[in-house]
Amino acid sequence: MDEPIIEGLDPPPPAPTGLNILVCIKQVPDSAQIRVHPVTNTIMRQGVPTIINPYDLFALEEAMRLRDEYGGQVTVLCMGPPMAEDALRRALGLGADRAVLITDRRFAGSDTLATSFALATALGKIAEERAIDIVFTGKQTIDGDTAQVGPGIARRMGLNQLTYVSAIDSLDMGRRSIVVRRRSEGGVQVLRSALPCLITMLEDSNVVRRGSIQDMLRAARAPVTIWSAEEAGVEDPLKCGLRGSPTVVKRVFAPSPREESAEMVTVEGKDPARIGEAIIDLIFARDPKLEVALTATAS
């Protein structure tokens, strides 16, 4: 956690050829283990393990698949608290080549607009050493569930935006063109676009690899580049964090029970057949027309 701040991106020198691919990941609490305090309605974060946002793993896998086929390197980028370095190390362990963490108190409280600003600024800084070909993100995160940061980055960087991609059919390095399958309403669009582009990867679009022993060993020792807002290239801190966020969360609350409480089915003994009959009686008592409709379709 107390890694010294490293200026610039020394490890390892950028590959001169092949694809320069960036994957944006987020460290999220394992949602299956989140608990809410019953009285104060606050999230009890203590002891909740963190994971790489599961959707991001499909983005990382696709990035590494392209690298393995066409050459180049995969850099993972994350914005978060210092402990988000864990997520980056896990990505290195899966086979990413290098990792950059942008962490700064000034990023705290960012909504999606401020987040895409910070990430796009850092991506711009990374692109100074060599132009980026593809930025990958997951479809959305499991904690925010907005799916807005990917499009935000694409817009800010002027990248061709390809969201909900289920497969990359082909990539022509010479012509810098790419053909992808994009999930849309009622079917799939087959799109031909061009590099540089931003791709948000759909879940289950590939099988995420297990890291090799070598990658795991390397990940433990590999340096993670850590940038403050300023080092990431942020010139206007008013565009970061709470102050850079146009949305304001005014209230966090739990919904109240329905006013009329549920009518409970009670049956003598525990005979399932009688419970079943009792449920049906109550359903049809509340919606008599349903019985008519169901009988009509059944006969």
């Binding site: 607009l113 061709n160 969201t163 009622g186 966090v252 409970m264 419970i275 079943g276």
Partner: protein
Amino acid sequence: MTEPAKPAAAGRASMKKELPERFKDYKNVWVVVEIERGRVHPVSWELMGEGRKLADRLGVQLCAVVLGPKAASTKAAVKQTYHYGADVCYICEDAALTDYRNAPYTEILTDLVNKHKPEILLLGATPLGRDLAGSVATTLGTGLTADSTELRIDDDNSLAATRPTFGGTLLCTIYTLNFRPQMATVRPRVFAMPEADTTRAGRMVWESLRMKEEDIVTKILEFVADNTSSEANLAYADIVVAGGMGLQNEANFRHVKRLAQVLGGDYGCSRPVVQKGWLPAERQIGQTGNTIRPRLYIAAGISGAIQHRVGVEGADLIVAINTDPDAKIFEFAHLGVVADALTVLPALSDAFARRLRAPALAS
């Protein structure tokens, strides 16, 4: 919905009430009408129904945005916007808008907003709506609330958008105080389908796309239609049966499927079931899956987390089966049974099958 909660992010710089001068003439409520291959997505009409209420509350106009090719289907969509409550329809017909692509759609919608200045801009939380809303909000530098489950106009006339937060464990209300338009996306079926009033008509405003086809990098090579759109069926099904972790394993979902089949309905599951890999993501019911509004919803072995609740609250009749008498689902179900879903589901299927085959004996 209860009040007691901590005020999040108190003291935030942007909490200042006064709207900057440049946004003061932003007025009216807009809904982007989503058309794909000539068909209007029903979420657009659902949004029009809700948008009408917001506009009436504010005393402003409801406006629709229709983008598409020069075609009869586009014209038909414009007509329908009036039937569903629009006072004004902004229309842009251009061959480049035939199928959805991010670049031309973002440009025309951004242009329309900058020219006509809406205070509220609503889109469906669909692959099209989310792709477009994210780009437009970033271009305009304004706030966007994804997957809102409730929209309300506050006393100071600002839009209060409520949505689940922290992975669906709590709800939060979000405002865009100092920027316009206030943008939100809403999932299909969160709002009820309004009645169409075919006598209504409105004003049409034409716009043109600046971008030319040769400026657009991304080309559509092909559209591969789904064999069956199971997701659409589930969201719009009249009867839905769903199972949760209480079913214990993948094989036990046969009980859920059978009951759905007996009732001629569709089936789904809670989020943990998808995370376990027992059923595909398209079967998920809840905030990040399908929102449903069936006539009858039977939830078996589902605890009823908030992210699930917001996806099923529109059901007319919710029946919950759970072994835990304190399960959250009993807080919003209409009928409850404290019992093991694994024994009740087969019994319920048998009982329904018996009754529906021999209705005379049922009464």
